[in-house]
């Protein structure tokens, strides 16, 4: 791991970098984007930066063509040509205008080798994972099997409320809000596509006509709001377990404002009122049913979705135990953004907190919260009941006494216990439904950003993850997007989704009498017992 230091008008930024990566690709994953109007081929010349010092690749032919000798002498380089080979320091004098969109970090993307050579026209295709908090998308040249670019940005519906109920309620109460919610998500998708075309291809309008398919996956609430229908049904328990479907009432009303005259708009159907098509995408991306019986999939989000493959049947449920892992209700909780503590380890002086982007700690993201509670428990500062041995008072126990944002309070531990109990109890119910025990788990797929920085052993020590050998745990960061991409790249992708959806047995936890009991038992901070005590 090397470090890229970037001096810009907003200050000095430190970015972890891998050797061989281009400066542009790295900056594109952050808010510090260079200007660009080609896919990084060195043909537009817009991406120049000044190299101050460091180990980098020599200038390429493109740079000799696009930069004058004076510019080169002054240290100017093309960011897309400049490859990191050690610690590097650059100056970003002319950043791109601020944008809501960033590239998805390459490690999080699935490797997909598939193409559609039979496509002669409209070869481009867009896969979208419409999440409650974030929208992620990828533009593909389907014929060549080439991923052109990806983007990740905030879902603008967040201004109506972070949780789905507030948004559904707003849509139910006021038709004009429903229209606004639908339009804002659709506009956001189009902004991202235009951003890709402008920066990664260099041509917008003619390319829009070449997009032949837009495939969108999401949770049921997002699909309902996007299509502007059926939201009230989701608030009514009577519809919970029924099959629901949300399709655009009028596809041309989407194609026109999007300027996508040739795009088929595909919204694979969700599983039930409370389990969306994003889970089906996870199943496709992980190939859960191709694995051994006892394969468990966990996608921790605002709503945590869980699937268990028992060899014959897919048992699926969802549980709203996630928000605590995104910082909701945690005193110093925050999403996985720069400055978030994602790991805690012991040091001579006490505890060391590793933060995202190496910035000063501002709070805990989900994996940091899990780590902090696990070390406090292991060190005997917390009891399995979730109480501190010595009450640290309302300000909490600061891992770094010099920084109050590193404190964990009793209320935080309680919120963590509630969230992990909700998830663990849901997994237990699925196992019971399948007639299996914890000891029969053979494979665990953790989907979503949550798993990315999680220390699996620590999470197991608290009973958040089941006891399973480390080599049987797989992390699939952007699985829902990857599932959508796979569907886009296969001639019968939509059928695959539909076929999988039909084999699913969706379980509504509110109808399971012993869920309560399991929840209570899982509140304790302790590893999940392989053979639960009677």
């Amino acid at each position: 791991m090397s470090v890229l230091l970037v001096s810009s008008a907003t200050g000095l930024h430190r970015l972890p970098a891998s050797d061989g990566q281009s400066v542009r690709d790295l900056l594109d994953t952050t808010a510090l984007r260079v200007r660009a109007a080609c896919g990084g081929s060195g043909t537009c010349g817009a991406c120049s930066v000044r190299l101050i010092a460091g180990e980098v690749s020599p200038p390429t032919v493109a740079e000799y063509l696009k930069l004058t000798p004076e510019e080169r002498a002054a240290g100017q380089r093309l960011a897309c040509q400049l490859r990191i080979q050690g610690d590097v320091h650059i100056e970003l004098e002319h950043p791109a205008p601020p944008s809501a969109w960033k590239s998805i970090v390459p490690e999080n993307l699935a490797e997909i080798t598939a193409c559609r050579p039979e496509l002669s026209a409209h070869r481009y295709g867009l896969a979208v994972d419409l999440g409650t908090t974030h929208i992620r998308l990828a533009l593909w040249d389907r014929r060549a099997g080439k991923r052109i670019a990806t983007r990740r940005g905030a879902n603008p519906q967040g201004s109506f409320g972070a949780d789905v109920l507030n948004r559904l309620e707003a849509a139910r109460a006021h038709p004009e809000h429903a229209a606004e919610l639908a339009a804002s998500a659709r506009e956001a998708i189009m902004h991202a596509v235009r951003d890709i075309l402008a920066r990664d291809i260099g041509e917008v309008t003619p390319m829009l006509a070449e997009i032949g398919e837009v495939l969108i996956v999401g949770n049921t609430a997002m699909l309902a709001l996007l299509t502007g229908q059926g939201g009230d049904a989701l608030l009514d328990p009577a519809y919970w377990q029924k099959k629901v479907d949300f399709q655009p009432a009028d596809r041309s009303a989407w194609q026109q404002p999007w300027h996508l005259p040739n795009a088929r708009i595909v919204l694979p159907g969700p599983v039930a009122g409370f389990v969306g098509s994003d889970l089906v995408a996870d199943l496709v991306a992980t190939g859960l049913v191709d694995g051994p019986p006892g394969s468990l999939l966990l996608d921790v989000g605002t709503n945590t979705e869980i699937a268990l493959w028992d060899g014959a049947c897919l048992h699926v449920t969802s549980v709203p135990g996630g928000p605590a892992f995104e910082g909701v209700g945690i005193r110093h909780g925050m999403p996985a953004e720069p400055g978030a503590i994602y790991r805690v380890s012991r040091s001579d002086a006490g505890y060391a907190c590793a933060t995202l982007a190496g910035e000063t700690a501002r709070g805990f993201c989900g994996s940091g919260l899990t780590d902090a509670i696990a070390v406090l428990l292991a060190d005997g500062r917390l009891k399995p009941s979730g109480r501190f041995v010595v009450s640290p008072g309302p300000e909490g126990y600061a891992l770094d006494p010099a920084n109050p944002a590193t404190a964990i309070t009793g209320i935080d531990v309680d919120a963590f216990q509630r969230a992990k109990a909700a998830i663990a109890a849901a997994m237990e119910v699925l196992l019971r439904q399948a007639g299996m025990g914890w000891g029969e788990l053979r494979r665990l797929c953790i989907c979503g950003a949550f798993g990315h920085t999680l220390d699996v052993g620590r999470a197991q020590s608290l009973g958040l993850l089941p006891p399973i050998a480390a080599q049987d745990v797989e992390l699939h960061a952007d699985a829902s997007l990857a599932g959508g991409e796979r569907a886009l790249l296969s001639p019968n992708g939509a059928q695959r989704f539909a076929a999988l959806t039909d084999t699913i047995k969706a379980i509504n936890l509110s109808l399971i009498a012993d869920y309560d009991e399991a929840y209570i038992n899982h509140l304790r901070l302790r590893p999940i017992a392989v053979a639960p005590s009677p």
């Binding site: 501190f388 509110s510 109808l511 209570i520």
Partner: protein
């Protein structure tokens, strides 16, 4: 000996260790304590102690509330089977979750505390229509209707507590039946119970027990 048992039991509850609590009870029975003694001298004082502790202790967590209620209810239920004569009941409560709400855990804790405090509870289950709360409370001569709601729209919605209040008013029952609410939305906004027309609310199961017992006593006095 009783003192030691009480201490060991309280400690187990405080540590949310259900297995340990049951061991204490088993040992006490083996040591000659009666079922009545265990309920009245161990369990009820433990719930009461939790009540006074919890109001003072900002660190008390959900697991502790759960365990106080859960263990107390389980022990009481088991002990009641070997009571020589049925115990005196303080009063009757009709409880359920609000219309549209399937979250049953809050109700379960509150019911556990009430049972351990010798309050009779009629459990209407989840997703209960407003009329049903009032119909059953009337038929059963209950003093309190208790409604649990975990979601904002079920706590404040037109088919929840506010409708129960309206029906109580229309049927002229407001002096005889009190309305108590609880659940997460009320914890975020401590004036919300008044907005929905309730007489009282509580932030946790143990305090819910205390408040409901007070209301029952108030009605019985008048």
């Amino acid at each position: 000996m009783l003192e030691r048992i009480v201490k060991a039991y309280n400690e187990a509850v405080f540590e949310t260790d259900k297995e340990a609590a049951f061991e204490v009870v088993e040992a006490a029975l083996a040591g000659g304590l009666t079922a009545e003694d265990i309920v009245f001298k161990v369990v009820i004082p433990a719930v009461e102690e939790m009540m006074s502790n919890i109001t003072k202790d900002p660190d008390a967590n959900l697991a502790q509330h759960f365990m106080t209620a859960q263990i107390a209810a389980e022990v009481t239920e088991k002990m009641l089977l070997s009571f020589k004569q049925p115990p005196e009941i303080i009063g009757k409560v009709v409880m359920g979750t609000a219309h549209g709400d399937l979250h049953s855990l809050g109700k379960r804790i509150v019911m556990g505390c009430l049972k351990a405090l010798m309050v009779d509870v009629v459990d209407l289950g989840v997703n209960v229509p407003a009329e049903r709360f009032v119909d059953v409370a009337q038929a059963e001569n209950a003093q309190v209707i208790a409604i649990s709601a975990m979601m904002v729209h079920t706590a404040t919605g037109e088919n929840g507590a506010s409708k129960v209040r309206r029906i109580l008013h229309e049927r002229g029952l407001e002096d005889r039946i009190k309305l108590v609410v609880g659940g997460a939305p009320y914890r975020f906004d401590d004036g919300l119970y008044q907005t929905v027309g309730a007489d009282a609310w509580a932030a946790d199961g143990v305090n819910a027990g205390r408040i409901i017992v007070d209301l029952i006593r108030g009605i019985k006095k008048s």
